[in-house]
Amino acid sequence: MAAFVIRRLIQSVLVMLVVAFVAFSLFNFVGDPINNMVGQETSLAEREEMRQDLGLDDPFPVQFARFVGNAVQFNFGLSFRRQAPVAEVIGERLPATLELAAVSAVFALVFGLALGVYTALRRDGWLAQAIMAGSLVGVSLPTFLIGIILIWIFAVELGWLPSFGRGEVVYIGWWSTGLLTVDGLKALVLPAITLGLFQLTLIMRLVRAEMLEVLRTDYIKFARARGLTNRVINFGHALKNTMVPVLTITGLQLGSLIAFAIITETVFQWPGIGLLFIQSIQFVDIPVMSAYLVMISLFFVVINLVVDLLYYVVDPRLRVERAAHG
């Protein structure tokens, strides 16, 4: 166990170092950082002095080590565009994205489970068939088109829901939340559906496939023979055993939710980190770009690590196999 955990940890740290290297190279290969900071009237001598002050003439490994040291404390310097510390710029945008991602994850999980169970139990019903066919079309629609279609129907034609922004937000400390006002909740509906729809179809298909598999097994037959009610069999026995893969996939998809939030946030002008990242690409705002890169990679690496470790804990076969191989 310890050897496996240590090996996985080393792997994760290596990945993060590679990501940090890419983020660091952004600063170095993209023009001269001094030029980005000073005006044209700065003399060469002053520039040289600044270069020494900032440690930009140090050897490469020293600079990289300093960058990693700063990155660990989430210090990425000033945003070129906003002239404010990157941590601050991201900090004020982060709650918006996390709330959006959390709400759409819950939406995807609840509806995915319900529809998945329904389509598995009523496999030949017309509604189940229609849901499955609809999910196929849903998968082939690009995320941004789903958002535009929803805006067109619910914001433009029906006028029920707002089409952009977060609505009214309440501050709890530094955390801004839209979950406590009616306006904020209304603004959340369309973006959350847009972001969660793909994961919903994924979870639904997974639950359906797993349910169909489990319902064929012997212990379900035995349960029926014992005279248990359908409800106990379907939900107490069958659904329970499909939950492990479903939760794994949902966990792994959390990272994709944050990544795909880039698209959803652009469609709905949602003031989160995804929109910030797109703007930083358009304006070549390197500090924000590299901070986003490091942050999202950390997120992915941690999720993958946790899922791997959980697998190891949950699935005894993995332990046996590794022991046999030495």
Binding site: L141, L145, I149, I151, W152, I281, Q282, V284, F300, V301
Partner: protein, 336 residues
């Protein structure tokens, strides 16, 4: 494909294999059509004819290809030639007379008076170009790396597959965005628009090579232990010659399937990036750019500016996707 199990499905008009010797004249008469005849009777063509979904999506895909290829001759106007545009034609709804000029457009016009049908034809040109080029890029890169990793093994295999694992844990769209962002930051500002389309191709290609590399590596590892490869090694062929001449032809089937589905994915990725405003330059609008332009006018009721390009994108991606699904099933020996 010499597969006798399918003889019973074939049209009965085909001469049975045990037919008495045909006269020389008959053979000569059949000869010119022979190749087409064989292609028509092959298993793939048979399964294609029997699948209405495959036929319909192939027809739609073909229409898009022809439309994109011959856009300059098919389109009613050249939407990127300012001389052919009339601003007075702006915002004409589909199939209605324009209030000022009285002109009519099948799918309406956008804010600058460009005919939507023409912009779709020219736009799918860009979409398909970027899609094809990036798939070819990913295919070549992935196949080469997969062949090397699978055939040579050792540390090279470990390094390539480790990189693949890491890349696979990130969504492709994020990788493409990052590569595009980095490239944009590194290029001088005045060059950005000229090379944007190539950068886009490389970015989408680099974000999708892993699938090819994994598949090719797996197949290569199976093939390299077969007797014909051993024989080739015994007669002293160079490893690279064995890889290219003997192993490569045997991995093309699965690669073709991935490439077809990859084309749909690349088209959607390109549209997404262009929609985000980090894709093709505004001077060469693709379907994604047009959807983005139209989104602003959705609120004032000009739905057709974004609706028709969106419909075109979904039709194109869906039919290429379905074609890929069909190809996967048709080439899968387990399903035969």
């Amino acid at each position: 494909m010499a597969d006798d199990t399918h003889l019973d499905h074939r049209p009965s008009s085909e001469p049975p294999i045990y037919a008495p010797k045909a006269s020389a004249a008959m053979i000569e008469a059949q000869e010119p059509a022979g190749r087409w005849r064989r292609a028509w009777d092959s298993d793939i063509a048979y399964s294609f004819r029997r699948s209405p979904v495959a036929v319909v999506s192939a027809v739609i895909t073909l229409i898009f290809f022809i439309g994109a290829l011959f856009a300059p001759w098919l389109a009613p106007q050249n939407p990127f030639d300012p001389a052919s545009l009339n601003l007075m034609n702006g915002f004409t709804p589909p199939m209605t007379d324009n209030a000022f000029t009285g002109e009519q457009f099948l799918l309406g016009t956008d804010n600058q008076g460009r005919d939507i049908l023409s912009t779709i034809l020219y736009g799918s040109r860009i979409s398909l170009l970027v899609g094809f080029a990036s798939v070819i890029f990913a295919l070549i890169l992935g196949t080469v790396l997969g062949l090397l990793a699978g055939y040579l093994g050792g540390w090279l295999d470990s390094v390539i597959m480790r990189i693949a694992d890491v890349q696979l844990s990130f969504p492709a769209i994020l990788i493409a965005l990052l590569i595009f962002g980095v490239a944009r930051a590194m290029l001088p500002r005045d060059m950005q628009n000229d090379v944007a389309i190539y950068v886009l191709i490389v970015a989408i290609g680099l974000s999708n090579w892993v699938q090819y590399a994994r598949t090719v590596r797996g197949t290569t590892m199976v093939e390299k232990n077969k007797e014909y490869v051993h024989a080739a090694r015994l007669i002293g062929l160079h490893p690279f010659k064995i890889m290219v001449r003997h192993v490569l032809p045997n991995v093309t089937g699965p690669v073709l399937v991935i490439a077809t589905i990859g084309l749909a994915l690349a088209i959607i990725t390109e549209a997404t990036l262009s929609f985000l405003g980090v894709g093709v330059p505004p001077t060469q609008p693709s379907l994604g750019t047009m959807i983005q332009v139209g989104q602003d006018y959705l609120f004032s009721g000009e739905w057709w500016i974004t609706f028709f390009p969106g419909l075109a994108l979904v039709l194109l991606a869906l039919s290429v996707n379905l074609l890929g699904d069909w190809l996967r099933d048709a080439l899968n020996p387990k399903l035969r």
